[in-house]
């Protein structure tokens, strides 16, 4: 009887600890950090895509086309990465 009660008490304590850990992983400061991360990444991808397009345009002399294409590729990359990190967060 005493063994049984000890076991159940142990299990209850263990589940309490794991709940606390879960809570700790979802600290508000770290989720604010991911929010900052995602917002700047969205912008940075577009900027990098445009810069790559600009440089390629200068080297190949195809003035407006590559910068346009790479701008949109940058937009796609930014959105894709934000979606990817949002999926990672939900795991």
């Amino acid at each position: 009887m005493t063994k049984q009660s000890f076991k159940t008490r142990l299990e209850i304590a263990k589940s309490k600890i794991s709940k606390k850990k879960l809570y700790k992983n979802n600290q508000p400061s770290s989720s604010l950090g991911t929010a900052f991360k995602m917002s700047t990444e969205l912008v940075a991808h577009v900027v990098v895509g445009t810069i790559i397009g600009f440089i390629l345009d200068k080297t190949f002399g195809t003035k407006p086309w590559l910068i346009l294409i790479f701008f949109f590729v940058g937009v796609i990359a930014g959105i894709l990465n934000v979606v990817r990190s949002a999926k990672n967060m939900q795991k």
Partner: protein
């Protein structure tokens, strides 16, 4: 009203030093970098000098920050990243102290200049790339080719992956710089409102200013944390290659 951007001006301290055509004189920016480095050294020297079982305040601070960073590295980059602990720890502490020293009135915020944060980010980017190539050889390029993608889409995906790899230093540096600069400008603007509205209407911007100071201290810590944790994530990509 005082110019809110005046606080970001870099002034020379002492004599002008020139290396060829490059001006390498000692400025207020370099002074605050030196101050924060010395503060870090003093705190951690005092904290690790006397290893008593019941720690005093400074030792507790040093031990807490050590376990904080060690746990962060272990959680995000795994046990393989242990040799890089010293680098990430000093990076976090440097950014944190620069941000925090910037919160002192009349102090200069080093991290509110993009060149400082970009140099840090570029250093990390180049270092992580070199580590990746050393650990995996040319297999590191597999990072750009995710598995399970149809062949038709592959050229587009590879370009997208390259763009997202190259955007790392930019997003890393712009995030820190923009947050610090925007926050400090906002604080100065509200401070200016207090003066120009006088004793009658100045109370509202003053209360905003107090609230913003608290928010800025949070942001100063958070940005240092984000900077360090993203370094860990990039290091994780380089050390454990699985995409």
């Amino acid at each position: 009203m005082a110019n809110p951007m005046h606080q970001f001006e870099v002034n020379r301290i002492g004599p002008e030093i020139k290396l060829g055509d490059i001006d390498i004189s000692f400025t207020n920016a370099s002074m605050f970098m030196v101050i924060s480095s010395i503060a870090i050294l003093i705190i951690f020297n005092l904290g690790s000098k006397k290893n008593s079982l019941i720690p005093n305040k400074i030792q507790l601070l040093a031990e807490l920050s050590y376990t904080f960073i060690a746990k962060m590295i272990n959680d995000t980059a795994g046990s393989k990243a242990k040799p890089y602990f010293a680098f990430i720890f000093s990076l976090f502490m440097f950014v944190l102290f620069c941000n925090m020293f910037g919160m002192i009135p009349y102090a200069f915020t080093v991290t509110s200049h993009i060149i400082v944060t970009f140099v840090l980010a570029a250093f990390i980017f180049i270092g992580v790339t070199i580590i990746g190539f050393i650990k995996h050889g040319l297999g590191y390029l597999k990072l750009f080719v995710p598995s399970g993608v149809p062949v038709v889409l592959l050229p587009l995906i590879v370009v997208i992956e390259i763009i997202s790899y190259l955007s790392r230093p930019i997003s890393l540096s712009v995030r820190l710089f923009a947050n610090m600069m925007a926050g400090h400008t906002m604080m100065k603007v509200f401070g200016g409102f207090v003066i120009s509205l006088g004793i009658v209407g100045g109370w509202l911007p003053l209360s905003f200013s107090v609230a913003l100071t608290g928010l800025e201290i949070l942001v100063a810590f958070l940005q240092a944390y984000v900077f360090a944790i993203l370094t860990c994530i990039y290091l994780n990509d380089a050390l454990n290659l699985h995409h």
